[in-house]
Symmetry: C2
Subunit: 185 residues, 2 copies
């Protein structure tokens, strides 16, 4: 899944106006006005195309998916380049099964090593190896450059600031409990 939606141009108005009679009228929803529709359309396009554009850059230049990069990056900035699987999953905003498989792949490639936590055998510690660190170091510049060129170069400084606020407001609505303001976890 993970895809995004439209509500394109005159669509929303027409659809319901046509055959709302026989249906249970859901108390006349508040449709999007023209400005909102344009904003939604612009946002939806970005939601669909920006992730794959960034993914493509990483895949092409480093042979890894964005999610894999994120896991490596998460470990690279952790103390001792080590994190428990659960923490890492939270960092990467992923479920455990997915992380488990990805870390398994990264382990096969020699970038990550798994060891049981000596203080509690239930935990698994994922550690970035030397090769993994080197991989991150060599991958990061290209990735940052892609983010810069696709996102920040076309925006003014003021717009980047606006974007911060906009993104945070939306995130607070989606998940108020999430530490998405750069706060610690």
């Amino acid at each position: 899944m993970v895809q995004v939606i439209f509500t394109r141009r005159r669509f929303t108005h027409e659809v319901l106006r046509a055959t709302l009679g026989p249906m249970e009228t859901p108390e006349e929803p508040r449709w999007l006005d023209e400005e909102e529709r344009q904003a939604w359309f612009a946002l939806a396009s970005v939601l669909m195309r920006l992730p794959s554009a960034l993914d493509a850059q990483l895949q092409r230049d480093a042979g890894i998916s964005h999610f894999e990069y994120q896991v490596l990056a998460g470990l690279s900035e952790a103390p001792d380049r080590t994190l428990r699987m659960t923490k890492l999953a939270k960092f990467a905003e992923s479920a455990l099964p997915r992380l488990s498989q990805v870390v398994g792949r990264l382990e096969k490639r020699g970038w990550v090593r798994r060891t049981p936590d000596p203080t509690d055998g239930r935990y698994t510690l994922a550690t970035l190896t030397g090769d993994g660190w080197a991989k991150v170091v060599q991958t990061a510049p290209g990735h940052v450059a892609a983010v810069r060129s696709l996102v920040f170069d076309p925006l003014t400084k003021a717009q980047a600031r606006q974007l911060t606020d906009i993104g945070r407001r939306i995130m607070r609505t989606i998940d108020p409990d999430d530490r998405c303001l750069g706060g610690p976890n």
Copy 2:
């Protein structure tokens, strides 16, 4: 795939400063400054969580994925509720093989019908059935309500306008040839 990336907090600076010596120095990339990092972090969160939040609403309330909704919606606003597969694919920003399978599923559910174009046997016309139209009519309000509550309710009018401009600038960078400004196709 289709996932999004981070470049979290102090990460970008530290990573490279540490071991750039032995690598070929990629002419000292321009890192993100503090404001940019915060903006990127906010945007990345939205890119990861908003699509799945919207998908979840549709899946829960209507039993369809967002992509399926998009296909149905695209047909519902087309003349005669009919579109050629290629046009529909462009509308849904998807490749043809994916669309072909999804339309196959929608056809099995009775919402879409496929017929060869009488004027050119290569084309396939996808048509929304009566049931398909009803499905869209009953699904749209909840979906629009989700978009409104997750995106526009938390934003000011001015921010919504800013968002339009921001999104368009980013899209122009990703794909300058795309008609993503609401223009016709």
